[in-house]
């Protein structure tokens, strides 16, 4: 009986809180909420559960935290009504966590009242699970959150109920006394009546004075405001009081009133209560009726539970199926992205490798041909020269010219030994063009960090220098060539300058070649020359 009473009273306050929730509570929300608190059909709780589960998800998605709290609280009540205390506990805790997330306005009355109401729900669960200590702790927390005398008095009453359950009657008495005082402050008749009723009932139990008058006064108040549920409670207490006082007549009289009232309101639980009290005071005539209504309530509860279980199972299954299919499509997406990525990576790598392979192949072929020219053709020409020694000077001169050109061609693409230090390699190259007619000068060749430059780039630069120098030797008439090196952050820049006759830039084969070579290693090459002003090249790699 106490359970129903406190829950019901709590519900009144709860509605008060909910009204604060303003616009977020739509008509459908209040309809389903009424199903939660007053289920008339076995499937009402299930329907409400469906509704609030969907709403909760929707609000979570749209980040409407207050509305999400409201839906969660409703779900918690449903679970509790179905007897699933653990589920209900979880949902209430979740509500509190959600409320804690809302810190928008510090003095938002919604936050404190919502939290208080959720805490009260939670405490009732602990009480029903017989974890009284925890229940009291939570009530104390809730008390700190509110200054409303109505709410305070209600919490104090609830706390009293816990002590009553614990059979600590004096502590219960103290709590009810407190609740009564607070209620009087609030001028809330319902609360005053409730507190006075509870207080007087404990007094009756403890055989303290003023019990009867208190119980009757509370009844009066409740009759005046026509609060039928409360009147029923008062009747119940009076029946037990007179039973205790062994005033059977009065007890029977009130039990008749109670049963009549209960039958009028049609609340089966109250009818059951009334019948039960009749049996307790020795009226066996109603036993059969009691059993019948008890069975019907139990079966109605069972039906509601079964409907809910069936739904929850179906829902879980659907959700699982959905999750699995989501997971599948997610996996598929990853697979597609992954394969696309791999495909692109492989493409890029292959392209790069192909380019590299091609350059290497070119280099190898050049070297091979150069070697053949050098070892075979040049040697053969020299062989002929030796034979003609001192015989025909003109022919010998021509042959020598051919011999030299053959060697130059060979040199242009002979293999480059990158195992030796690169600046020395370049220095050798410069030295081979350095003679009495042409002076080659380098600046900062040894200051450059060549370690990070790839072999491909090194040999390319070598070849380009070689071509520039060959070009210089053939056409420029220069007496001095300067190679100026400078190290940038990531790039190396190399400037060639000679003091030759210069020329209008026309891309002969040699220069065009250097452009191709530098482009192949993603470098830049700029030519600058005017007749009579020497020749200038800037290479950056």
């Amino acid at each position: 009986m106490k359970t129903n009473l406190t829950s019901f009273l709590f519900f009144c306050l709860y509605l008060l809180f909910i009204n604060n929730l303003n616009a977020q509570v739509s008509d459908s929300l209040s309809y389903y909420s009424s199903l939660v608190y007053n289920p008339k059909e076995p499937d009402h709780l299930t329907k409400a559960y469906k509704f609030f589960t969907q709403k909760k998800l929707e609000y979570a998605r749209t980040k409407k935290y207050k509305a999400e709290v409201y839906a969660t609280q409703n779900l918690a009540v449903i679970q509790k009504k179905l007897g699933y205390y653990d589920e209900s506990e979880k949902l209430n805790i979740e509500s509190i966590q959600l409320i804690d997330l809302i810190k928008s306005e510090k003095d938002d009355p919604w936050v404190s009242s919502s939290k208080a109401s959720t805490l009260i729900e939670l405490a009732i669960i602990y009480r029903d699970k017989k974890d009284y200590e925890e229940a009291i702790k939570i009530y104390d927390r809730a008390l700190k959150l509110t200054n409303l005398p109505t709410a305070k008095s209600m919490i104090q009453n609830n706390k009293g109920v816990v002590y009553l359950y614990k059979n600590e009657l004096y502590k219960a008495l103290d709590q009810y006394q407190l609740a009564y005082e607070t209620a009087k402050e609030s001028k809330d008749v319902k609360q005053i009546a409730r507190s006075l009723d509870n207080l007087s009932f404990i007094r009756s139990k403890l055989s303290l004075p003023h019990a009867e008058e208190g119980l009757l006064e509370a009844l009066d108040m409740r009759i005046k405001i026509n609060f039928s549920y409360g009147i029923g409670t008062s009747y119940g207490h009076l029946i037990l009081h007179y039973e205790l006082q062994q005033d059977t007549l009065k007890a029977i009289s009130y039990s008749d009133k109670y049963l009549k009232l209960a039958k009028e309101t049609g609340i089966s639980e109250q009818i059951r209560n009334a019948l039960k009290l009749k049996i307790e005071i020795g009226d066996d005539t109603t036993a059969a009726e009691y059993i019948a209504i008890n069975d019907s309530i139990n079966s109605a509860n069972n039906l509601a539970r079964n409907k809910f279980n069936y739904y929850a199972y179906q829902y879980d299954k659907k959700e699982k199926d959905l999750k699995i299919s989501n997971l599948r499509s997610e996996r598929l997406l990853y697979l597609v992205i992954g394969s696309a990525f791999i495909f692109i990576a492989v493409y890029v790598i292959l392209k790069y490798k192909h380019k590299k392979d091609k350059l290497e192949e070119i280099y190898k072929t050049e070297t091979r041909i150069s070697r053949k020219i050098h070892d075979e053709v040049a040697n053969d020409v020299y062989h002929v020269m030796t034979k003609l020694q001192n015989e025909n000077k003109d022919v010998l001169d021509d042959l020598e010219h051919i011999y030299n050109r053959t060697r130059d061609i060979s040199k242009e693409s002979s293999s480059i030994d990158l195992s030796m230090s690169y600046p020395e390699l370049l220095n050798d190259l410069f030295l081979s063009y350095h003679n009495k007619q042409v002076a080659i000068i380098t600046k900062d060749l040894y200051q450059i960090n060549w370690d990070k430059i790839s072999d491909l780039k090194k040999s390319t630069v070598y070849r380009v220098f070689q071509e520039l120098l060959t070009n210089m030797k053939k056409h420029s008439d220069a007496s001095i060539v300067v190679f100026n090196f400078s190290q940038g952050n990531k790039k190396i820049s190399m400037r060639y300058k000679d003091n030759g006759i210069g020329s209008k830039i026309k891309k002969g084969n040699g220069l065009h070649n250097t452009e191709n070579r530098i482009a192949s290693i993603n470098g830049t090459i700029i030519f600058d020359s005017e007749e009579g002003k020497g020749f200038k090249v800037i290479i950056t790699i």
């Binding site: 030796t386 000068i441 380098t442």
Partner: protein
């Protein structure tokens, strides 16, 4: 003069030319081979018969043909012979004129002369034989810079600064003073003079004015 000479080249006609040179030098006792392996056998057997060769003239590149060779290049046989018969003098006679190769053969394998085949090849060879006999190193002119100090082409920031000061017409004394005050080292007059003459050589300049003209044209200052 050398008593016994071995010539190794896969072209008989070239060997003929070399033989002619040797004849002119009064060295009739020369043997010729066309494979490196044969050269090795000749040297070893002569040594065994207490009538060793005292000069070995060899090419570097040998055509690879049907005969399988243990020593397939001039370098290989030179390396082996220098190890086994260190007193044998060796002259390289080759079309190869890469400085790196020359340096490697001279510095690492210890050949006594390096002669480039060419118009003046035989003349150079004759000079080389004479020089080697006198225990001098001989290098053909076109490759003689192979053994020059590495950075003799190089100029640095100091040189540029010096050129700038010279271009301003400052006498060397005041440049020395300026360098000293600015913490640029070396700043002594003699060091500056040394640098300046190095720059004259590098830029083939006849005097300071000429030098400044050249480096200005080249955009160095």
């Amino acid at each position: 003069m050398f008593q016994k000479v071995l010539i190794s080249d896969d072209f008989g006609s070239i060997n003929q030319g070399v033989l002619k040179v040797l004849e002119q030098l009064g060295l009739p006792d020369a043997k010729q081979v066309q494979y490196c392996d044969d050269a090795y056998l000749q040297v070893k057997s002569a040594q065994k018969n207490k009538d060793p060769f005292d000069l070995f003239i060899t090419d570097l590149n040998f055509k690879i043909d049907h005969r399988e060779q243990k020593y397939s290049s001039g370098e290989a046989i030179i390396e082996q012979l220098k190890k086994e018969v260190p007193q044998l003098k060796i002259i390289v006679y080759s079309v190869e004129d890469r400085l790196q190769k020359v340096r490697q053969l001279v510095n690492q394998l210890g050949v006594n002369a390096y002669v480039c085949k060419g118009r003046n090849g035989l003349v150079d060879l004759s000079k080389a034989i004479a020089a080697v006999y006198e225990d001098h190193l001989f290098l053909s002119p076109q490759i003689e810079q192979a053994l020059q100090p590495k950075n003799n082409l190089e100029i640095d920031d100091y040189d540029i600064e010096l050129l700038k000061q010279l271009a301003l017409g400052h006498p060397k004394e005041s440049i020395s003073e300026l360098f000293k005050n600015n913490g640029i080292s070396p700043s002594s007059l003699s060091a500056i003079e040394k640098r300046q003459s190095k720059l004259f050589i590098q830029f083939s300049a006849n005097n300071a004015a000429h030098l400044i003209g050249i480096v200005k044209d080249l955009g160095l200052i």
